[in-house]
């Protein structure tokens, strides 16, 4: 599959996703309870409008892609498709999720240090020691500022005895 076919496939999938979301919205409206009090417009009315809107817009986008292809859009997406690095995108996303998950157990300072250093490395920085130091500095500065000055709780984690 060349970049152009892939890009077009992606765009069609987007259109289908929009239609699909419309479908989810409409089927889920039945889950919204109706109020027994005096009501002119209930809580399901606007969701129904939005759901229908998604169906129409998704359908239009699909038509636009198949019958009258938007060449500028396709060219731009194709250019990016050639360059795209899914591995790096997924790695950054995975690092983020791990970062959020570790905030509570490792504590704000350590989790931030690790995330900052690893993420910078993934994004191309080659000076690990410097990045660890910067990450630690940001983490500790934010932690002290928030907990000491602002009275906002941040998890201390492993360093709870030291901070």
């Amino acid at each position: 599959m060349n970049a152009e076919t892939r890009a077009l496939l992606w765009l069609r999938l987007t259109a289908l996703a929009v239609i699909g979301l419309g479908g989810v919205i409409l089927t889920q409206t039945s889950q919204i309870g109706e109020n027994l009090g005096y009501t002119i417009i209930g809580p399901r009315f606007f969701p129904t409008l939005v759901g229908i809107g998604f169906l129409i817009l998704g359908g239009l986008l699909f038509l636009r892609l198949t019958m009258f292809p938007d060449q500028t859009l396709i060219d731009e997406v194709v250019a990016e498709e050639r360059m795209i690095d899914w591995l790096m995108t997924a790695t950054v996303l995975a690092l983020l999720v791990v970062y959020a998950a570790l905030l509570e157990s490792l504590g704000y300072v350590l989790a931030t240090t690790i995330f900052f250093a690893l993420n910078s490395r993934v994004l191309g920085s080659r000076r690990l020691r410097r990045d660890v130091l910067i990450g630690f500095a940001i983490g500790i500065a934010v932690y002290l500022f928030f907990t000491r000055l602002l009275g906002v709780r941040l998890p201390a984690g492993l360093l709870s005895g030291l901070l």
Partner: protein, 512 residues
Amino acid sequence: MEVFQQLLIGFSHALTPQYLLLAAIGVTIGTAVGVLPGIGPALTVALLLPLTYNFDPTGALIMFAGIYYGGMYGGSTTSILLNTPGESASVATTLEGFAMATSGRAGAALATAAIGSFVAGTLSTLLLTFTAPWLARAALLFQPADYFALTVLAFVSVTALVGSSLLRGMISLFIGLFFGLIGIDVLSGQVRYTFGVVELLDGIDVVVVAVGLFAVGEALFVASQFRQRREEVLAVRSRIGMNREEWRRSWPAWLRGALIGFPLGALPAGGAEIPTFLSYTLEKRLSKHPDEWGRGAIEGVAGPEAANNAAFSGVLVPLLTLGLPTSATAAILLAAFQIYNLQPGPLLFQKAPDLVWTLIASLYVGNVMLLILNLPLIRIWIKILTIPRSLLYSGILVFGTLGVYSMSNSFIDVLLMYGIGVIGFFMRRFRIPIGPAILGLILMPLAEAHFRRALAISQGDLSVFVTRPIALSLLLATLVAIILPYLPVLINRLTGKRTPAGRLVFGQGEED
């Protein structure tokens, strides 16, 4: 005039070296806290309010005004430099502001934001000084039908935000509308689209969506395109201030922004977001440089920033004259008054005139102080952009996560923000603009609630939207705003001429 006398008394309280020092401290701390993404002015003030307990009422109010203006300006700094709006009212600033920063004009963007904030802040404080009681009465004329008409007018802003394709812009708008539906329905108390996640019961905070779509989406996008551009920096050089041309283009935008922001801020259910988007739309329509929009048009920063700042003075109108806290910040200000056993309301001007006029005077002082402190700081801020990309985006992600995490201490909220970031990534990938989604998210709950309230009160009679003069005129204004851009095209088509590339011609089928 009595007002002048009172104001002079206010100044005589506010203008002592000790209080000026407090104002300076307030602005500095406010800016420092406000630049943290996710922490907008309201939260800044709430967090720093205890600091003001140590002073006498005058000192506290002056420091308070300083903190507020500092926090407000700090929020726009991150919008411009890091593409990360600190609060919903800075989203409109982000659109052109970050574009200016990436094209090496961060200095000018920050300068027009700072000076614009000052101009609009001062102008709107003047309006507050002289028109508050009258404006408060006028604002109370607004009923749900009128508010609904106002949100309809605000929806016109989408035409300025859609970018090159109307269809993709509308998809973005609807994504925002859907986000706006999530959570407990205010009117019926029914739960909608939470899919069993309790954290979604209160809906999705605009900051979570804005940080997700803008900052996380951008970071993921940059990562996906990394083969192309390695260790480069965003913009190496940037001038500090504005050149003559930029001054000339900023002035009218500041004034228009202030004039939009102040009255809309004064509406008890108006808010600061609608004026920023309306100002953005107006500036784009009036612009003589339509080709610059999306690539860093200075009016797009000047107008919304001024509107945002003026809206705050507007919010003070119902608070001081009617005792109605109409925004998060106003609610905190109310708390500040209560510390001194004062209940803002219709009787406040009689009960504690000294304090009220001191507060108003301190707003002028805070504005000046902001300008004095922050213009030199621009030099330091723009250095942020010389940080290598890898570190900068890691930093943006760290601060974005911090903003959302510190609001709720919730892992789920942070995951939600990352999830929205993934949506933002795909939106960037397929050229679906971000702005309309934020507009939809802000307007959906307002439009729906006011529409349903209006019909409940009228017992189902749809004519409320056309029989009330305010609602009718706002709806007519909407119609004009929609048709106006097409008028030159229509006229030219009728007379058989080609469309000139003049003003007012955006929105016509660029798509094809």
